[in-house]
Symmetry: C2
Subunit: 300 residues, 2 copies
């Protein structure tokens, strides 16, 4: 029996002593010059996909042993069709082989056996390229999540349900009604997760809660006391480490904080002019790790 | 300049004289015996994917010239990784070459440039294997849809936004609040679509509205007067043609009604015992077409 995602997550976060999650978002147009073929629509897709893969494998190397997890973003891979799917699997497999947890950022949603098929695709069928967890969208309701819970129970995989996303327009629907929809979703997430609690006390059913709404994180933490949070919005999207604090349980446990652009494209920042992209990315990972270590050193 | 999706949809629906949409959902375990390798987890994925492809190409042949559109369901293809992605592209390309509109049922959702990447992946980058339209999930709000509208404007592609899904649990979040969230989403869908109206008067921004909530379709039609509906829930999910009527504009225009299992797996019905699967599927398509022709003959 595989150790449940909740416990693997908790162990890995404790071992590394930080909650940093490196988002693998290969925006073609932002890649360093040596991978420029990725953005050439005239180049064969196989070549473009190899460039994406090569860039991300190097990021995975930088992340391994420093942070607990990475989060590849499916959309960019899907732009390259089957070649992108090959690159996706190679990046996922390499990250897992390097001891990183992999959260597949796929934000899938569907009903019944189709929802189950999405869970199987990313948590069960892909061999060495299975993700540890995936992101999912709750709009369709409980019966769209339940088939995924079964897949998690069988495989030891995890879910992160979108609760409050980090984008400026997220309140439009997520804050509709009284109580706001996010609170209703949050209560359901806690309920769905109650059957999937690990020995760590955490559940394998997590929640995406944006750091850009830091005033609301504490309330969502109360509604979901055993739920691992995935917190986007740090760094390039504007929030600092302090704004994520209420998302954590004690000692920096129970949450991962994502940074994508701030790490992958650190070389583009004015202060990194002249630096090799890889040095800039490594420095960005180390500085994020330090920032969170300091945050929890202050707390304890 | 490509004709906008709205107008291609309207033309094709008028030409064929019916609103039937064949859902291409290759549930491995339901496929006819000759494609059984698809459900063998020990078989190479390439072989499994070829079986899925071969089955669906034959369904596409049956559908071509009889119904306006098909709707491949991505989840099952994704279970087969890169091989599934190849099969997806071949099925989409074959359907388009046969004159069918293709609605990629991907239910994607993300923000900003990532949302755009999903639009590009399915509406712009895939050459002959581009879909005519895709399904998307609105939970993240307007700024998750706007980048997709730009892709539609540039490519002539279309969207179907999930408004009220056909599953029994869909009310949980979709009917939260007063007015219920679906009404808020519906108004936004109408607004998003207002910039993408074609000469037909329809918009290229559609809505998914389940036939299993037939009491609500009329209200949603009022809130979205120019929005093409994609109506799931007919057939295997329990609704009849009559229950979809309020989703249409005059003369059977403005909506597509989906049937997946009822057509693909018609041979499994007791009354079709002994029939070849292909004969059963063809009869199911013809009977659905007739049912809707009769519905609109009565109306006019």
């Amino acid at each position: 029996m595989t150790t449940p995602y909740a416990d693997r997550l908790d162990a890995r976060t404790r071992e590394l002593g930080n909650p940093c999650l490196v988002g693998l978002d290969p925006h073609f147009e932002l890649l360093p010059e040596e991978f420029a073929v990725a953005r050439d629509p005239e180049a064969p897709r196989a070549e473009r996909a190899r460039a994406v893969e090569s860039f991300l494998l190097q990021i995975v190397e930088l992340a391994a042993g420093r942070v607990p997890a990475v989060k590849p973003q499916s959309a960019f891979f899907e732009r390259l069709g089957a070649d992108g799917a090959i690159a996706w699997e190679r990046v996922v497999a390499a990250a897992r082989a390097a001891g990183l947890l992999v959260i597949g950022d796929v934000k899938r949603s569907d009903i019944a056996s189709t929802a189950r098929a999405y869970g199987q695709a990313y948590l069960e069928d892909a061999g060495d390229a299975c993700c540890d967890a995936i992101t999912v969208n709750p709009y369709l309701g409980a019966d769209s999540i339940e088939p995924l819970l079964e897949v998690c129970e069988r495989t030891g995989g995890g879910l992160y349900v979108l609760v409050r996303t980090s984008n400026p327009g997220s309140a439009m629907f997520q804050h509709h009604g009284e109580p706001p929809l996010v609170h209703v979703v949050a209560r359901e997430v806690a309920r769905w997760g109650s059957e999937l609690r690990g020995e760590s006390g955490l559940s394998s059913v997590g929640a995406v809660v944006g750091a850009t709404h830091s005033d609301q994180i504490a309330k969502l933490r109360t509604l979901m006391p055993h739920t691992p949070f995935l917190i986007p919005g740090y760094g390039a999207q504007g929030a600092g480490a302090e704004e994520t604090r209420a998302g954590f349980l004690g000692e920096g446990r129970g949450a991962l904080v994502n940074s994508s652009r701030g790490i992958l494209y650190a070389w583009r920042k004015p202060e990194n002019e002249g630096k090799h992209w890889k040095d800039a990315s490594l420095a960005a990972i180390e500085s994020m790790v330090e920032e969170f270590r300091a945050l929890f050193a202050k707390t304890s």
